[in-house]
């Protein structure tokens, strides 16, 4: 283990830390081990600290100790010390700590209490018993800082996801706390929403001329490409939740990138790309962290002469398995989908992307027969979806909902899988044999007798994919399968989908995550306002930034970095795998 980079004694005159965490270990009631197991760091005024660590290292738990929710509201055993502005967080009530540490959580909907933006922001100061004039002054200032003052009379439900998260930031600001803690603030947002939140955060910590303000931020974020440009310092926890690195961005992210990557810590895509290029012989004096830095670096040096990677031949695709013809769907008075034509061939991996409310979920639900469609508009495996019962449909197409729990209907994992086979009226011996086979394939053999709700998140997801495929469906449709999940679990699922595709299953996936789309999908369908805006090879779709922006989407970080780069090995790369230096 490497020694800590910081932890030097306070220099005279340096501002007192806003938060000081020493050897913090937290064990949740009922958990076997403590995570974090030994976190140590400090946050000083004006700093933006990014907290990194592999999934399961206790980052969110750590965040909850900073304003005393652990141990005051969430039962857990806590060792070590957390000091907030000199107060011991364990013995100071949450209400006092809340004026020093403001919190913003992942789910914007779970942070709303009242009926208007103004009431929502005023809620915290009112709880602090501040005089009305002060409540209003703070509310106005907080709403102005996130650009929502003009909309103060509206119901928060009318805001976009990014808008609601900005409101949550304003609510934290109104508490008057000099330190903001944001725990995965953009995990539930679409690309436009993520950009929205980061613009607001940027304005909070930097003056218009770029000099830092006094506000400190602790950021827990898997979307590093957006976060890193704001960050001053990085604290890294290992898998058990011990601090293994703490220092300026340059020292930690640039200097120890390979080590962190090996530990399972997510790095910005631009950094991952650079690590890969380095293996191919490129020289980077400073490892790039942002798309802009990567572009500058690869444009400045000529780079080794490597031939462009042979473009992998398009996966052989077969007969059309899904055919949509002139599909129009109405809900209430407006069209949700308008005159859609779409053909998906056997063996394809198709991503359906679009902004919130574009109609992408309706489209795939119509394809899978989850919602009723007019006769003759959707054919799956040659049969009309509108004329097929759900049993017949489940042999042709499987649908996985966003939250796997929603589709569990049995009391054991085994019965969950067997249900689809029993519906096909198969003999019990065959049901048993095939269900066991599916459990083995999805790594759930030893969980067969468990209740599905007691599985871990990743296991639940695998089980839901298993139930969708068990009846023999050659087509699998997934609605936002990576929504709200950390990177590791999202990657695990996508790898599973790729394995299925290689074994011959056709995959159609709805997602917001542009980098995942480019990494895995061979074809991308862009939906906007209920119409198909583009339908082409993924590389082609992501070459057209104007198209993406007009559909409420953004370029994935790698594409953003390589925009305009002319080096033959890089110009057309959209996936990390397209870059030279592979076989890692």
């Amino acid at each position: 283990m490497t020694p800590l980079a910081s932890g030097a004694p306070d220099a005279p005159g340096a501002p007192a830390p806003l938060a000081r965490v020493r050897d913090l270990a937290v064990r949740h009631d009922g958990a076997d081990a403590a995570t974090p197991a030994g976190a140590t760091f400090e946050i000083r005024p004006g700093e933006v600290v990014l907290l990194l660590g592999p999934s399961g290292s206790g980052k969110s738990t750590l965040a909850l100790t900073l304003n005393g929710l652990i141990p005051h509201a969430v039962p857990a055993e806590m060792e070590g010390a957390v000091e907030i502005a000199g107060l011991d967080a364990r013995s100071t009530p949450v209400s006092v700590l809340s004026t020093h540490v403001g919190m913003v959580f992942q789910d914007p909907d779970a942070q709303l209490v009242t009926g208007t933006l103004l009431d929502e922001v005023a809620f915290g100061p009112e709880n602090l018993r501040l005089p009305v004039a002060e409540v209003l002054a703070r509310s106005e200032s907080a709403l102005r800082q996130v650009g929502l003052w003009e909309r103060r009379a509206e119901n928060p439900d009318r805001l976009s996801g990014g808008g609601r998260q900005r409101l949550a930031i304003a609510c934290a600001l109104a508490m008057g706390s000099p330190l903001l803690v944001l725990d995965e603030p953009t995990a539930n947002l679409d690309p436009a929403g993520i950009e929205d939140v980061y613009v607001a955060l940027h304005d909070l910590v930097r003056h218009p001329d770029g000099t830092p303000r006094d506000r400190a931020i602790l950021l827990i974020e898997h979307n590093l490409d957006a976060a890193v440009a704001l960050t001053d310092r990085v604290v890294v926890l290992d898998a058990e939740g011990r601090t293994v690195a703490d220092g300026p961005v340059d020292d930690v992210l640039r200097g120890r990138a390979e080590e962190l990557h090996a530990m399972g810590v997510w790095l910005p895509i631009s950094t991952l790309a650079a690590l890969r290029l380095r293996r191919a012989g490129w020289v980077f004096e400073r490892l790039p962290l942002t798309p802009d830095e990567l572009r500058t670096a690869v444009t400045a040096s000529a780079g080794p002469v490597t031939a462009p990677r042979a473009v992998a031949p398009a996966a052989p695709t077969g007969e059309p398995v899904v055919e949509v013809r002139g599909l129009t769907l109405r809900r209430g008075r407006h069209d949700v989908l308008h005159d859609i034509d779409l053909t998906v061939r056997a063996g394809e991996f198709v991503a359906v992307v679009g902004g919130n409310g574009a109609g992408k979920t309706s489209l795939v639900q119509a394809i899978a027969g989850v919602i009723p469609v007019p006769r003759g508009t959707v054919l799956v495996g040659g049969v009309d979806v509108a004329r097929t019962d759900s049993r017949g449909l489940s042999r042709r197409i499987g649908f996985v909902f966003q939250n796997p729990e929603h589709q569990f209907i049995a009391h054991t994992v085994f019965d969950e899988i067997a249900h689809g086979l029993r519906r096909q009226k198969l003999p019990e011996a065959e049901v048993r044999a095939r269900a066991t086979g599916v459990l083995r394939r999805f790594g759930l053999e030893d969980k067969a007798e468990q209740h599905p709700f007691l599985l871990s998140g990743g296991q639940k997801r695998r089980l839901s994919v298993g139930t969708a495929l068990v009846a023999g469906a050659p087509v699998l449709v997934l609605d936002e399968p990576t929504f709200g999940q950390d990177r590791a679990r999202a990657e695990e699922l996508l790898r599973l989908l790729r394995d299925l595709q290689e074994a011959g299953t056709t995959i159609i996936v709805v997602t917001h995550d542009m980098q995942l789309v480019t990494e895995y999908a061979s074809r991308t369908v862009v939906v906007a306002d209920g119409r198909v805006r583009a339908d082409a090879a993924t590389a082609e779709v992501f070459a057209d930034e104007a198209l993406l922006r007009s559909a409420g989407l953004r370029l994935p970080p790698l594409r953003q970095a390589l925009r305009g780069v002319t080096h033959p090995a890089l110009a057309n790369a959209i996936r990390l795998a397209d870059l030279p230096g592979g076989a890692s």
Binding site: L64, N67, L69, H72, A73, V74, P93, V94, S95, S98, T99, G102, M103, F105, D107, D109, A110, Q111, L112, V113, T114, G115, T116, D119, A122, F123, G124, P125, E126, N127, L128, R129, L130, V132, V135, L136, A153, N155, D157, M175, Q365, A368, V370, I371, S390, R391, S394, F399, F401, N403, E405, H406, Q407, F408, I409, H419, G420, R423, F453, T467
Partner: protein, 262 residues
């Protein structure tokens, strides 16, 4: 996005006199009449209260389309349908059979049946109309504020209830998705299909609900909710002289109508 009644929607339009009254006065004023109407048996008393309620609402509430539809269509239609239904359904052997209204074969509709039927339906209509005085002119948040400020209901209870309002549309949406998902899996069937099906919805719905409620509770704690015995009220909902006058007038009129020899 489904259209749900927004319990928060701020009313920024011209205020009529009922909008300016304390919600508690609007609830307590008609309350004795509502309770006593349950025991009234004649036709005239409910009719008087119905008329009074209409006058108060028409004079004191904003006349939106909803109000118009309720008062002009739904309530009168309800009185007629319910009144006729009751008259037909009632046991003819136990009523005054001196007046015959209609005779179809062996079946006769007597005046007594009609009277009892309409007395019942008018009674219900009067109760509904009296409740609408508060119902049409009060928002959930104002009722909570008044309860906290005048009835000394703990604010932790009141505002938590208000936050729970937000759960309703969310859970309804979630239930829709669960039903969709179970339909796709083909979860129905069996002799107790309906019961089993709904039981199947309960588990995932509850799991999601508990998780959501925990998150909301944490977010509220993080903003010092419940830290102090009271909290700043930006919107005072005072109990003023006019509230007392309204309350007194309601009670006095109720007493007069209920005791007058009719």
């Amino acid at each position: 996005m489904s259209v749900v009644v927004d319990p928060y929607a701020e009313v920024a339009i011209r205020r009529r006199f009922l909008d300016g009254l304390n919600p508690l006065a609007k609830l307590a004023g008609p309350l004795p009449a509502v309770v006593l109407l349950v025991f009234v048996r004649d036709l005239v008393t409910p009719l008087i209260f119905l008329a009074l309620a209409y006058v108060v609402i028409l004079a004191g509430a904003r006349l939106t389309r909803t109000v118009g539809l309720i008062l002009g269509l739904a309530l009168p239609l309800g009185v007629v349908v319910f009144g006729v239904g009751m008259s037909v359904w009632i046991d003819a052997s136990r009523i005054d059979r001196s007046v015959e209204i209609v005779s179809i074969g062996a079946w006769t509709l007597y005046g007594g049946a009609l009277e009892i039927g309409f007395a019942t339906s008018l009674r219900l209509a009067a109760i509904v109309a009296l409740a609408l005085i508060a119902g049409l002119t009060t928002t959930g948040p104002d009722l909570v504020r008044a309860s906290v400020q005048q009835l000394r209901v703990p604010y932790r209870v009141g505002y938590t209830a208000l936050a729970a309002f937000r759960f309703v549309p969310r859970f309804r949406h979630e239930l829709d998705i669960i039903r969709q998902a179970h339909r796709v899996r083909g979860a129905h069937g069996g002799r107790f299909g309906v019961v089993a099906r709904w039981w199947g919805y309960v588990v995932p719905l509850l799991a999601g609900a508990i998780r959501h409620a925990e998150r909301v509770a944490l977010a509220m704690d993080a903003r010092a909710f419940g830290a102090h015995p009271d909290r700043t009220e930006r919107h005072l909902v005072p109990f003023r002289v006019r509230d007392a006058v309204f309350l007194g007038a309601c009670w006095a009129v109720s007493a007069v109508v209920l005791t007058a020899p009719l």
